[in-house]
Amino acid sequence: MDSTDASRPDGNAADRPPVRIRLRPLGKTLTSTPGTPMINVLFPEGVEFPCGGRGRCRGCRVRVLEGELPVSPEEQRLLTPDQIGAGWRLACRQRVEGDLTLDLAQWESAVLADESSFHFTPHPGCGIAIDVGTTTLAAQLVDLETGRVLAVRTGLNRQARFGADLMSRLSFAMTSEGASTLASRIRTQLGELIGDLLAAAGGEHAERVKRIVLVGNTAMHHLFGALDPEPLARYPFETPTPGTLEFDTGSLGWKGLPEGCRVVFLPCIGGFVGSDVLAGLLATGFDRRDKPGVFIDLGTNGEIVVGNYSRMVCASTAAGPAFEGARITMGMRASTGAIAEVEARGESWHCRVLGDGEPRGLCGSGLVDAVATGLDLGVILSNGRYADGGDRWTLREPVALHQCDVRELQLAKGAIAAGARTLLKLSGLRAREVSDVYLAGAFGNYLRLDSARRIGLLPFGEDKLHPSGNTALLGAKLSLFSEHPQEACESLRKRIVHFSLGTDPDFQEAYIEEMGFPRKRPPAHREKPKETRRP
């Protein structure tokens, strides 16, 4: 197939016929307007852009099987000539100008990673990995013989209508019929998701499914298993039932799967820290590392793990939803119209809007960027107050950052930074002794690392920070390659100590201090060229 309209200006895109983009290995065809950034086409399909689509990592690379894409300077820098010759490109650097057939590296590379850490032993059959998030669900069908991902599906957790945040959902679970309503809700939805997954892969794989592995935080674990949520509702937030849950598909009402297909919800660590973090530790190789490392999931309930293979301490810290753009005056999710980047340019600043249209609001990464830029420009003081005493800063009409938004961010970043500091202290470590910091979760992918350092969210050198994407799903996927997926997790959780930050006086003190911003940019943030290592 041929198609090179790349020479045409974008201006008359509307006059041109829509282009078709076929995706392998899904066999799905998308249509789009010529000139659309490829990130806008692929992101809704669940493709992740680990560096936030800035051409800094290679996480979003695609291989052109049919059609043509030009080579950008970033691609020349990050890819070898052989790779470029073989058709590899970075999706975040491309626009769709003509019809294309693409191979998506991401959905295969997760397990077949070129890096040695992800060895797998081929097994007959297929497996399904599911990340049961409080807000979002993500599922992948994996061929256990080849390690290839055959289909991907995501969705919004339908339990959310009974409480968007964990605590309100747990409150509902404690009402009569609450727990059973929530359990049947999520089980039905996941059954449908699995049906979609199998249908998307062509249907012929259903008979081959050997096992299904689910991961999620302790509340999701309990609400899926219809366990008593009461212990999670109050101090000390420790459940007597943190173990692995096992089901057969019939008892869950999941149809179309072969007899003997097992469903396993991996075990929890302690408190609210669940198998999503255990899976994340497996996925990042944390369970095998000698040198001290830090694992941070920058979600609403920020989870932090510090240590090495032999001993880890973990804690969760209530960061609140600011990183997701919630409780922010003009906050929104990272979608079209969101200001996703703010950068100082001399005395002024520049905003990047997702989808390149009119700005409608501010997403989490834009919030962190805006505050970092405000600090650099002297618009925001280190105590979080606007220097001019005002209560808002217009970033780009009509989007403004309000004083109370800066305050929300102070609470969120204070909780994470103080949590990390307390766990480091508990482990007898200094920040500079940590060799790697893994940032799990979508926000870690979109966050600009130098901005995160500027606001004091992550007190580690930028070269140590590795945005790692959905490590929960990746870890669940790795577990599929074992006859007994829970074994690795069961052994791992024995080496982890769960620590309750809430009662710790050091944490309280650190929290107060970490609510302020560093007066200056941390040193050496741009001493050397941008890191090109794979996250």
Binding site: S168, R234, C404, R407, G516
Partner: protein
């Protein structure tokens, strides 16, 4: 007492060392302990509260101001007790059973102390019996409860019910606060007052003891 206005500044700016030193100097120079509290420290904490309401101050400033005030109060309190001066009132406060988020509670404690109240801090995860015990043995005027979680809010009602059952309800006023709490909820469970911020606690407590 304008000669000790530096004490006002030290509390307002959260400088605990300066607050302590200035208090010692003032007392050594013969300043009246009660007037140091009334003329400098309470106005400073009032100003802290005002700036918090106006978004000028945030949680850290509030807490360090409270710390500075405490440093000063440690020097003054023994003298006040010796002189037999009465506090504006006595408040027992804590986070309710099941809840251990105490930053808000600590702020309220600090504001109340700064506002001239004697505070019996019962800490976190406080069972109803402990509140009742505080009423019985400490002769408190006000019980203040905080809860940060929707799941622990119901403990407030449990505690009030227990106080009623113990026959102690008419001896105390009850004020509540915390992120999920509303004025309607306070009315529903039979509390006397609701505060939407730590800064508002002093005014509410003053009103309650005056009532």
């Amino acid at each position: 007492m304008s000669e000790w206005t530096k004490l006002y500044d030290a509390v307002l700016n959260g400088d605990a060392d300066a607050a302590r030193t200035l208090t010692e100097e003032a007392l050594a120079a013969g300043a009246e302990p009660q007037s140091l509290v009334d003329d400098h420290m309470i106005p400073a904490m009032d100003e802290v509260g005002r700036r918090f309401e106006a978004n000028d101050f945030f949680v850290p400033e509030l807490l360090i101001a409270a710390r500075a005030m405490k440093a000063s109060l440690e020097k003054i309190r023994p003298l006040l007790i010796a002189s037999g001066a009465k506090p504006k009132g006595r408040v027992a406060l804590g986070t309710v059973k099941g809840d251990l988020h105490d930053i808000g509670k600590n702020l309220v404690a600090a504001m109340l102390e700064g506002g001239g109240f004697e505070v019996v801090d019962l800490g976190v995860d406080v069972a109803p019996e402990k509140f009742i015990e505080a009423i019985e043995s400490n002769g408190v005027d006000i019980v203040a409860m905080s809860a940060l979680l929707t799941t622990t809010m119901p403990s407030m009602k449990t505690t009030i019910d227990a106080i009623v059952a113990a026959g102690a309800r008419d001896r105390v006023k009850i004020m509540i606060g915390g992120a999920p709490i509303t004025r309607e909820y306070a009315e529903e469970i039979g509390a006397d007052a609701y505060g939407d911020s730590a800064a508002s606690a002093v005014a509410i407590a003053r009103k309650l003891v005056a009532a």
